[in-house]
Every structure is written in structure tokens, then in C-alpha cells.
Symmetry: C2
Subunit: 335 residues, 2 copies
């Protein structure tokens, strides 16, 4: 497969240019491009440049507001709402981050209800900067029906990722970000694009039969991880990113979506906690390290997020290999 090495800054510039070509104003384009570039940087190509075609489609169709002006307001002493003005989520998230961190520091625990946004990409990029500010964060988002409730027959839940970030004193934050499906839908899309078979137990085709064909699974549904337990977590995330914050469920998002290939309108919940306000103001960080030492002492076990940080270091040193097919798609978009 032919590919080209791009620096992370070049990826961001290319993505921003492409988004502005389709009507984004500069600050919306830069916020989205930053997320795309960080995905490529960290080895998460499924959320990188390959998604630009869908994102620009959604700008072209008018579904996504490329000139969104998000607003942040306090709706309870410990709850903030960021209304994304129907734009892509990154700008609203960037504007809400500092107020959320400040509220967590003041109150001990705080929540951010993100509404009226088109969310895309992975959640680790949202909890990591909060954790870098010393605040523990939990984030979740729903999407489009893709996962079958345990025991059920058809897709109802989104792939509904849950991300967690824990601040560390002498290391980058510990971060995990995991879909409620056995694998993320982006991984299935990547397998379809690369013509790879899926491992068994990941999904079913549109008739509900187990399938290893990624395209058949994209047309069918994914299974929740860990059976009914992952299914319960997917359901909880529907409630958090939907009914709790006054936004839609995955099945409602799908019903109102125009199917232009871009992400649907929906919500996200972030819970932020300041460990220095929870009872061990001085010792919590070094205490946590004792757990991490125990994990790393076990042969074969590793801390979540380790691979992402290794990919990042490598990308910053040597750039990112981008498939020529992805670049030619972007070239065509820019015509």
C-alpha cells in the first residue's frame, strides 16, 4: 500500500484547509482539524483523515453548522451546559474545558452537559487535557444505533464509548477510552477499507447471523463487550448523553439524521472530579502510583493508553504514514 509521510502539523493544516473549503470558519475548522491531527498522531487512523469525506459532506448538506458559535452557561452550581449551536463538537469542548475544570476545583465534582453538537472521533482526546490539569474525568457519548441490547435482536445503542482520565504527577495522564461494543465501529470501517476479515464474536449481519465480513457487520450490528454487562453500560451511556442532559438517544439521532455520512446531532456528558477535594489532598497522586506499580509488575499487563503515548512519541519524531488513497480522496475534495 503506497503511503506518504506527513508531519502532524501538516495533517492539521491539510484538514483545516479542507474544512474551510466546505464552509467552516477558521476557529471551527482549526478545532476539528486539531482532533483529526491528534488522532493520526496517536495511531488512531480510524478517526483521522479518512473521515474528512464524511465531515465535508455534512457541511455541504447543511446538517452541520460550520460557523457555529457555542455558548457555555451554568445551569446548576455544579453543572455546566455547552450548547454547540449545531456545529462540530471540538470547538464547544475547547471553550467549555476551562470552565469545567474551574467548577470541579471549586465544587469538588462538576458535570458538563454538551448539547446540540455533532460529535465525532474518540473521547480520549477530551479527558486527557482535563486530566493534565489535575482533574479526574469520565466522559461518554452516544452515536447511531449499532449495538444490540443483550438478548435482543437489532441495533439500538450506539457504540457508546466511555473514557476515563487520571492525572499523574510525573507521567502523562492514565487514559482509557473504550467502546461499549466488542470493537469500535471505526475499527470495523478500517477493516472494510483494508479488506480484512473480522475476528469472530464482534458482530452480526443485517439478518442477525454472526459474520466476520466487516461490510456485513456495518450493515448489521455489533455485539456489546462482555455480554449483558457491556450492554448495561451502553444503556447507561444512552441515559447520560440523552435523557439526563436533554439530548437525543442514538435511535432518535438516527431518525432525524439526513444520512449524509457525517456524524448526527447529539450530546455528551463529562463528569470531572478534583482529587485534591476528596479527602487525601496531599497523598492521592503518589498513592495511585502504588496501584500502577502493581499492574506493571505483572508480566503481560500494561497501563491503558501506553500504546497511544508510544505512537505519539514516534509520530512527533518521524511523522505519520498516510495512505496515498486517503490523500487522493482529500485532493479530490479540494477540487
Amino acid at each position: 500500500m503506497s503511503e506518504k509521510i506527513l508531519q502532524v502539523s501538516e495533517i492539521k493544516t491539510l484538514a483545516s484547509e479542507c474544512l474551510q473549503h466546505y464552509g467552516c470558519d477558521e476557529r471551527n475548522a482549526e478545532a476539528v482539524a486539531d482532533v483529526i491531527a491528534r488522532a493520526e498522531r496517536d495511531g488512531c487512523h480510524a478517526h483521522g483523515l479518512m473521515r474528512l469525506a464524511g465531515y465535508t459532506n455534512a457541511l455541504k448538506s447543511g446538517k452541520v453548522n460550520g460557523k457555529a458559535k457555542p455558548t457555555i452557561e451554568s445551569i446548576a452550581p455544579s453543572v455546566l451546559r455547552a450548547n454547540g449551536d449545531q456545529g462540530y463538537a471540538p470547538l464547544a469542548l475547547a471553550l467549555a474545558r476551562e470552565p469545567l475544570i474551574a467548577t470541579a476545583r471549586k465544587q469538588g465534582i462538576a458535570a458538563l452537559a454538551l448539547t446540540e453538537t455533532h460529535h465525532f472521533a474518540a473521547l480520549w482526546g477530551e479527558v486527557e487535557p482535563i486530566a493534565r490539569a489535575g482533574i479526574c474525568a469520565l466522559a461518554c457519548v452516544s452515536y447511531m444505533p449499532a449495538v444490540i441490547p443483550a438478548g435482543g435482536s437489532g441495533p439500538l445503542y450506539g457504540t457508546n464509548p466511555l473514557a476515563f482520565g487520571w492525572p499523574r504527577a510525573d507521567a502523562p495522564p492514565l487514559v482509557f477510552d473504550q467502546a461499549s461494543s466488542v470493537v469500535a465501529r471505526g475499527e470495523v470501517m478500517l477493516a472494510a477499507r483494508e479488506g480484512r476479515e473480522l475476528a469472530p464474536g464482534i458482530g452480526v449481519d443485517s439478518e442477525g447471523h454472526p459474520s466476520n465480513d466487516p461490510q456485513a457487520v456495518l450493515d448489521g450490528a455489533l455485539l456489546a463487550f462482555g455480554g449483558h454487562k457491556g450492554s448495561s453500560i451502553a444503556m447507561m451511556i444512552e441515559l447520560f448523553a440523552g435523557a439526563l442532559i436533554g439530548e437525543c438517544f442514538s435511535f432518535e439521532a438516527a431518525a432525524r439524521d439526513n444520512k449524509d455520512g457525517g456524524p448526527p446531532l447529539g450530546g455528551e456528558l463529562i463528569i470531572a472530579m478534583d482529587p485534591s477535594r476528596f479527602g487525601d489532598a496531599l497523598g492521592w497522586a503518589s498513592h495511585a502510583e502504588r496501584l500502577f506499580e502493581q499492574i506493571e509488575a505483572q508480566n503481560g499487563a500494561r497501563l491503558p493508553g501506553d500504546r497511544r503515548y508510544r505512537n505519539r512519541a514516534q509520530s512527533m519524531a518521524r511523522g505519520v504514514a498516510v495512505p496515498a488513497s486517503v490523500l487522493s480522496t482529500i485532493d479530490a475534495l479540494l477540487q
Copy 2:
């Protein structure tokens, strides 16, 4: 197997009498007995009367303070701490419940850090009453090392349950409560007691080899549900119920425990959110029902907690069948 039908109130009286016989004062005994009786009532026998022998051992050894006087304090505007005074958790939880609910109503979101308690039994009994007050709750607790970190070789995490409660207008709350292990340790204990084999994929023996023998697995370790994803959740719960709130991790709890068979000293975190303060004050409850209708419309899918409520209705009507062997153990304890 010979058994006797007891009313729920008789189970509570029997448990309270037994606990007071071993030095609990009345309000501590009643709080613990209430949890035991509710476990039996709801069909969760693994957390019922069969545990009394361990609980009384821990009173006898002096590990658990049977006359604990828990204290509740506000340590940040949205964070409460309940110090259990080294007693069993139920009294501290009962005393902290109303302050937690009130703080969630006032602030939108609130957290309870429960410390210096000996926690036992299931978490659904802790989120359900909060949800009955109209507040969405998330609770987690660590225990003793029983679960292997993904890729690792030995037990490090507790079975670390995560429980969630969602208030409903015209139905009991939706509640799930799930261990981070494939099955709860109590279920393995019950299988050992009843001489049943375990299904494959639940645990390993003390040498790390897969085993279906419940006693071998109790001596060995359990696997996390859903592979590395369940393992990540178990790790997050260690951080929430440990470093965040200034309490010990499972491996630390085990190191300081006197191994008298009763639960170790440790912590718990509860996050409580008032959905009426999150952006859809009027519509959130009926909105959530639309998700539940979609779940129940799928043949084979069911709402979490349904079976528990069915067991409860049956127990309240007809009493609970308690094995004669359990009752004779309690008789012996009372001599």
C-alpha cells in the same frame, strides 16, 4: 435440600439477633440485618444469611466495630465524606443518604466518599433508594484482590462492582449492579457450597490455569468481564474507591486484613445526579421511558433489575426458602 420458609421480617429479626449476640449495638445490627433481609428478599442469597458466619467472626475478632458511630461531613461544596468509624457500611450509608440526595438536588451533581467501613453485600441496595428519591446514582466499591488485570498473571483488583440507578415515574427504579469479574465472587461461593461446576471462562486456579472448580477458582482468581475493557473498569473502580477518596486499594485492604472471614476495611464512592438540574427538568423521565420501550420491544431483551423485582414480589407474598443448613449454622452461632 431441606429448607424452611421464612418471612422477610423474620430473616431481619434473626440476623439482627445474631449480630447483637456478637456485640453489635441495636442500630448497627438493624442496619446490617436490613441489608441481609433485602438480599434474601430479592433472590440474592449469596449476600444473605449464609454470610452471617463471616460477619460475626469479624465482630468476634474485633476487626469490625459493632458499636460504630459514623460521622458525615461536607469536605467540598459538592462532596460529602462519611467516616464509618470502622463499622459495617450499612449504618454509615443510611446516615449519609439524605445529605447526599439533598446535595445533589442543590448542586446538580454530588459525590459521597465513604471511608473506614467494612463494606459487604451488593450495591443495588445502595443506589435503589437514591433513585427512589428521584436522583440518578452511580456507586462503586473495591474489595479484596480477586481479579487478574488483563494480560497479567495474578489477582490484583477486587471484584469491584459498579451499580447504577435511574429514577422512573411509574415504576421502581431501573437498577443494574455488576461485578467487574465475569461473575461475582458470591456466585462462585454459592456454587462451591452447592457443589456445582462453573461455566468455562470464569476463572483460573492458583497456578493460573483455567478451572471450572469453584473452590479452585476461589483459591485462584477471576477473569474480568469482556477482557481488557472490564479490566479497565475494575482499575477505575480501584482509583475511585481508593486513591480518589483516600482509602486503600484491594491489595492494601488484603495486606492489613486479619483474615477472620469478614469483609476488610475500605471505601466506596457514590456519584449522585439530579436529572431535573441537567437541562430537561420536565421531560427527562418520560424521555427515558422511550428508550426502555425500545429495549422491551426487542424479543429476548429485558431491563436490568427486572428479575430482582419479580423475586421481591414473590418473597413478599410467599416468604423466602432458606436452606436448613444455613439455619443450623445460625443456630450454632447463637449458642
